[in-house]
Symmetry: C2
Subunit: 446 residues, 2 copies
């Protein structure tokens, strides 16, 4: 340990600070290829007090702090920077309270998202936000990125379930935002400001989240199409008919192939796209709207439905087996989803790049995954060029760079195209108010 | 006109600036008793350019600007201050776009809320947020206060329908926040920051709002109870049973009496409370959960339902007939709603104050209306004392000062009790970033 990290260790209970280079390195990355800097050490926080002590020390010594949940992020938001301390919240896993009467829970940031959902379901409730990673990602990380998921199309994103936060500010002071109630407008919306701020404004040490009544009957449809555009058209038809799906997921051929190669799902050669739709109540209407499908299956049991959705949740891991992945997360107005998808196919062909696409299609949120050789430190030129074209096409279609993953480091070069100079100045002004020494996750998000 | 207002008039097209004292006075108040200051004049903005010119002039001359929609606010947020210019957005009434495919609309701030809802319904959609005032209040005012309404229990508050904003900043620069898509996490949540900021951070000149599929079948239950607590218990039972009401409104005897005196609704002497509940699908389950009711009616036609809800929407105007009103807007966790209501009854009795209460009961949002003599300039001592006790009781129960009306001027004396000194410092820091000269609605909200 250096003098600096020894001072940190002295300010914390024993065993909280790790400095072994190999161990530290394992906390330096998220799930992107983005090469990390070299941290001074890692703090494994066990409590709010640990976070307070760490930030007081960091403020005193002007050390950058990179907060971290499970490291499942896809934008480089938790990538370590040189000379930082990585602050892991993964050990703060308490569900402090779960009130079925008030339909809320108070949770620590290290709680695994699906664990909270399971705890809620014991009371007939659910925690709605469900990023694909929800079995391995944490509530804290979900809050930091304002994570979306498969059920957003009906229940909204993480922000829509966050009622209040306990936050440790850069200087170690503790702030409580929001409330335990369903509504409330006292003061500015600080809760909303922290959610999605990617650890640049404060470190979340607890959250009061909204639970919702779990639906009693859910039906699931899986449909296979011989063209991706036909599948996208079925998405529009299902939304326009007012089916109010709680899930509407689209996978392209490349994605399905990667899953089939791994798990042998019996993919037909002619299948170019699969749609998985879920809604409360009967599925007949949704199935009927998949008229152009080559195959339609309605699941009759929850087990069958879970299996179908399980296939979808494997998509990203299946792609990681093919190589390194640059994951985009564009979101466009629903009416132009077919145009967005066509553009992605054209860009892939023109640049000779493998792009495997899944979409939370009901939200217009598309994940083109650019796959490149494992041996490379960075994506090759043609991948960056293709990625650039896809980002710009999304903006031209009235969309956004990132629907749910965040900007992190990966999308910073495009940020200005979307937000413009006035917003950039306001972002910096807000950052200055919360973190005048610029120690919280510097260089990320804004 | 003074030299100052002449310069303003010269910067705007003809007829935009009013300085006649009687006319100006009619723009100086909202719907509260709070005594206004004396404005220099009123600007009737017709366009974003008018707002830009007004704010450039105001910045140059350091003149406070009080933005204003329809003046239906209940917290003094639009109350004029001495030497200000009142900036009315009421003439900016264009629905710039309504896209049924994307389920969004782009609207100017002066659009009457119910007009947008009606425009959406022509396409099978609705604009969900519906403050009781929605036939007279504007979208801009709703955004500024983050207004709630009757349907929030199912569809959320104004924030939950706001996707993006066009805002003129204090110095006249134009900012676009958010997006046209259902999801998006690029940059900090500036949209959320402006919504509910009560005109202290910028002037909203357009909003992209989310529309939702209008329910096809809605059933409505009205139940009368001989005790308020029984009615509150029925609220809990309906929520706990998972009926997912889209409306769950409670009125006490004093409120019902005021409505009956005005509109002769045939109120029974024994009735102490009425509950109006609405849900998609059949109403039998909700009706059955009103077991303690003295009378239960299920509406069989939309006209009957509209009549029942119409009674509820008259509540505030009926109370204004009794005298001047100090309106509270506390919100508590649903499980303690009966305690909140009992406290209000006790406080009214102890202080000898008339309190008429309605509640968006499904949200735990309670409006105790303290009625006092029309001749008084300010509420008498005992009304302030009673109001103070109710605010403190709400906070003690884990609630908030304001569920949907905002802080304005009326609640500023209690603000610190809820937010505390750290949040207050951050609020001021944010205000400084957006409005360094403190010209935007100074003294309000934070």
């Amino acid at each position: 340990m250096t003098e600096l990290t020894s001072a940190l260790a002295a300010a914390l209970p024993g065993g909280r600070v790790l400095t072994d280079p190999d161990v530290v390195d394992s906390y330096a990355r998220d799930r992107t290829f983005v090469p990390p800097g070299r941290p001074l050490g890692v703090v494994l926080a066990d409590s709010r007090d640990d976070v307070v002590a760490t930030l007081q020390w960091a403020s005193e010594h002007r050390v950058p702090v990179v907060p971290r949940g499970a490291g499942t992020g896809l934008a480089g938001g938790a990538t370590a920077v040189d000379g930082c301390v990585v602050l892991s919240l993964a050990r703060m896993t308490a569900i402090r309270e779960l009130s079925p009467q008030d339909e809320i829970a108070v949770v620590e940031p290290g709680v695994i998202t699906a664990d909270l959902d399971r705890a809620a379901r014991e009371h007939g409730l659910m925690y709605a936000p469900d990023p694909s990673s929800y079995e391995i990602s944490t509530i804290g990380g979900n809050l930091a990125t304002n994570a979306g998921g498969l059920r957003c199309v009906k229940y909204g994103v993480t922000r829509d379930s966050a009622l209040g936060l306990e936050v440790v500010l850069a200087d170690g002071r503790v702030l409580n935002t929001g409330r335990r109630t369903m509504k409330g407008v006292t003061g500015y919306d600080l809760t909303g400001l922290f959610v999605g701020s990617e650890g640049t404004l404060g470190v979340i040490t607890a959250a009061t989240v909204r639970l919702r009544r779990a639906p009693r009957e859910v039906s699931t449809v899986a449909a296979e199409f011989t063209s991706l555009r036909d599948a996208a058209a079925a998405v529009s038809a299902i939304v326009a008919a007012g089916c109010q799906p709680s899930m509407l997921e689209l996978m392209d051929r490349t994605t399905l192939q990667a899953i089939d190669d791994w798990k042998n799902i019996g993919l037909e050669p002619s299948t170019k796209a699969m749609l998985i739709a879920q809604a409360e109540g009967p599925a007949d209407a949704m199935a009927a709207l998949c008229g152009a499908a080559s195959f339609v299956a309605v699941s009759s049991t929850p087990e069958e439905a879970a299996e179908l959705i399980g296939i979808r949740r494997l998509a990203y891991q299946a792609k990681e087996r093919l190589g390194q992945c640059l994951v985009e997360d564009v979101c466009v107005p629903r009416s132009v989803l077919p145009d967005m998808i066509t553009t992605i196919e054209e860009v892939a062909a023109r640049h000779g790049v493998m792009i495997a696409t899944v979409a939370h299609a009901g939200d217009g949120n598309v994940h083109p995954v650019f796959v490149f050789d494992r041996g490379l430190a960075e994506p090759p030129e043609e991948v960056w060029a293709a990625a650039d074209e896809v980002f710009r096409a999304a903006l031209d279609l009235g969309g956004t760079l990132t629907g749910e993953h965040g900007v992190g480091l990966l999308k910073k070069r495009w940020l200005g195209l979307e937000t413009g100079p006035v917003a950039a100045e306001l972002h910096q002004g807000i950052k200055q108010v919360f973190d005048p020494l610029n120690i919280l996750n510097p260089g990320k998000a804004i």
